[in-house]
Amino acid sequence: MAAVKPAPFTYRRAATLGEAVDLLAADPDAKVIAGGQSLVPMLNMRLARPGTLVDIGALSALDYVDVVAGRLEVGATATQADVAAHPLVRAHLPVLAAAIARIGHSQIRNRGTVCGSIAHHDPSAELPAVALALDAEILAFGPRGPVSYAAASFFTGTFDTALAADEIVTAVQFPLPAPATGWAFAEVARRSGDFALVGCVALLRTDAAGTVEEARLALFGVASTPVRLPEAEDLLTGRPATAEAFEEAARVAAEHLDPGSDSHASADYRREVAAHLVATTLADAFARTPAGSTADA
């Protein structure tokens, strides 16, 4: 049934994180809103019907980007636009900026938050895959105090995460890749700004001779969560970073995927394009390594 106006709810703007947690605890049907770019469409269509909406948007203390101890930390109210433009992100984690650039449109990114996108967990969204590829840590706060989740165990299913109903994501910490790590982000979408049919994040580190020391691959749009590709990563490790190796990794990746079909793309399509993206993002990532940037074609 079509709807375009939210069902009734009580709106509460939290002045502190503690107040936000208290408000969340007071109503089992409460939901947190920050930028609202994923939640408000669901409110409007009445697909989400919270009893209380706890707005953490005024928590300016959580509007930050910082680098501490080899980790880039993004606070809960930092918008995607601000994060993508942040000098620390551009200097230390350009893959995050590249991924954010593919989220919707600038008008959405001006309100949407990095943490909100991760907490919302649309399986075809960009940032959960980045979090997974980087082994990010999702920091949350609840009645039991601070908690943290490893990205690998955080994304549990479509629009579902390990976050407890009474917890609020306060920040995401992205471990910075080791120096000389190349990166690439690519996705295929129907139109500019659409959710990806398939997307891939690749990180690649090699020695000076071009032998792979570490590979990280995360695909999205191919399952109910973003997926790492340990078989392909293992296959690459210790091998020369060559087009043949990347193609083989792509083949192995495809063998381990079991994507679904929908009206935008068939399962076969997603598998084939996922493999293609694995190969191309690996090549692009390698080109951003010291060894790759000096190598011939």
């Binding site: 375009v4 939210p6 609202g36 005024a58 449109h105 600038s106």
Partner: protein, 170 residues
């Protein structure tokens, strides 16, 4: 029903709004600012785009209560006078960048934000113009003239619009 203060187009308005009221409805129905249009109410079409603290955002994906404490600008605030249009508006007119005009206010607001940023820098990269425009659906024009208008208004293209010479003085 909370009473909120909305700062819109340089004026403060005190309003009683239901918690669930969208910013679009508050602007249109409570303040009579119907230039902000509602095209899809799920954040895709861009007709409802307004400036919030100088940045374009979707008013349909913002609750009115969330806008408290923010500076909102709508299309009604853009033209400098009754006799003059904003350079973005003027370029849209000169380049025939609108037909039915329903999506136009949203596009104008996104381009005004870029224009204000460009005033320091001189021009805006074509890629950024294209990215901004891709956040707006227009069903009439085929975009060709909107893109042309945007590039001219933002200094990315200095040639006159295709048909402008004959009508520019009208």
């Amino acid at each position: 029903m909370p009473e909120i203060t909305l700062h819109v187009n340089g004026r403060e308005h005190r309003l009683d709004v239901p918690d669930r009221m969208l910013l679009t409805d508050a602007l249109r129905d409570r303040l009579g600012l119907t230039g902000t249009h509602v095209g899809c109410e799920h954040g895709v079409c861009g007709a409802c785009t307004v400036l919030m603290d100088d940045r374009p955002v979707r008013a349909c994906l913002t609750l009115a209560v969330q806008a408290e404490g923010r500076r909102i600008r709508t299309v009604e605030s853009v033209a400098p006078s009754e006799d003059a249009l904003h350079p973005v508006q003027q370029a849209m007119r000169d380049c025939h960048g609108l037909q039915c005009g329903f999506c136009t206010p949203g596009i104008v607001m996104s381009l005004v934000a870029l224009h204000e940023r460009a005033e320091g820098a001189g021009t805006v990269a074509e890629e950024e113009i294209d990215e901004t425009l891709s956040g707006h659906l227009c069903r009439c024009t085929g975009y060709r003239n909107i893109t042309a208008a945007a590039r001219r208004a933002l200094g990315a293209d200095t040639a006159p619009c295709e048909h402008a010479p004959e009508g520019a003085d009208r």
